[in-house]
Amino acid sequence: MSDAITFDERLDTSGLLCPLPVYKAGLVLGRLEAGKVLHLITTDPGSLEDIPALARQRGDELLDVEDRGATQLFWLKKGPTERDGHK
């Protein structure tokens, strides 16, 4: 069960539309240490595609997703942040 996942930080973006859930989640993930878990709550239906994309692009791990209809729940584990810079 997703509810059993322990997390280090919780962010509720209910009522906010793109890009705000991604923007706010990005700010939190940016300051979390690698391995820490963010529990994100959204109501923007686009989040079901956007948050997995956020995790994929940032290199974080999407532990679980739960679509409760009006609300979407996500658990994101901060990945290693090493990047080789832009060439």
Binding site: G15, L16, L17, C18, P19, L20, V22, Y23, A25, G26, L27, A53, L54, A55, R56, Q57, R58, G59, D60, E61, G79, P80, E82, R83, D84, G85, H86, K87
Partner: protein, 173 residues
């Protein structure tokens, strides 16, 4: 090929090699309120994904980073069949129609809890989004460096193309 094979999980990828920082290069060429949003939505999203992002403000797009003019961005009521106030062109031309369309769009944005452009500018700059101000547009339209918000790099097409050349995504808005 399965979808999974084409898109390896970030965890797998991170073990194999460090993630290369991607870049998006945007051109903001329009100075209406409705057209000011897309470059900022895309730039702040890209920066949130861990990408580098830059916006080249050119021609009427310069208004978005103009200290005074950015506070007066409007939505066209004329020749804008999708606009917030559905008016025939004949009525769209009457005084006050543009102000009405602008007021409706601002209300839409407020009701949807979307930040105003001034706040998007701050969000973008806070995330390190690079702002290029087109020097040619400035010369043509008589815009001085002091007219623009702080933190803009005044540059021509070559400097922007140099930035855009290594961007994975380039969009003209």
């Amino acid at each position: 090929m399965t979808l999974l094979a084409e898109n390896p999980t970030p965890a797998t990828r991170a073990v194999e090699a460090p993630v290369k920082t991607k870049r998006i290069a945007l051109v903001a060429a329009k100075g209406t309120l409705d057209q000011a949003y897309p470059p900022f939505i895309l730039a702040t999203t890209a920066a949130s994904l861990g990408w580098e992002a830059g916006i080249y403000f050119t021609f009427y797009g310069l208004d978005i980073i103009h200290k005074k003019r950015s506070r007066r961005l409007k939505v066209a009521s004329l020749a804008n069949p999708s606009g917030p106030v559905q008016l025939p062109n004949l009525l769209g031309a009457i005084p006050g129609a543009t102000a009405a369309a602008t007021a409706v769009m601002n209300k839409w944005m407020r009701d949807a809890k979307m930040p105003p452009i001034s706040e998007f500018v701050e969000m973008a700059q806070g995330l390190g989004v690079k702002f290029f101000a087109c020097s040619t547009s400035m010369g043509v339209m008589g815009v001085k460096e002091t007219d623009l918000i702080d933190g803009c790099l005044i540059a021509g097409a070559a400097a922007f193309l140099d930035y855009a050349a290594t961007a994975e995504v380039q969009l003209f808005i």
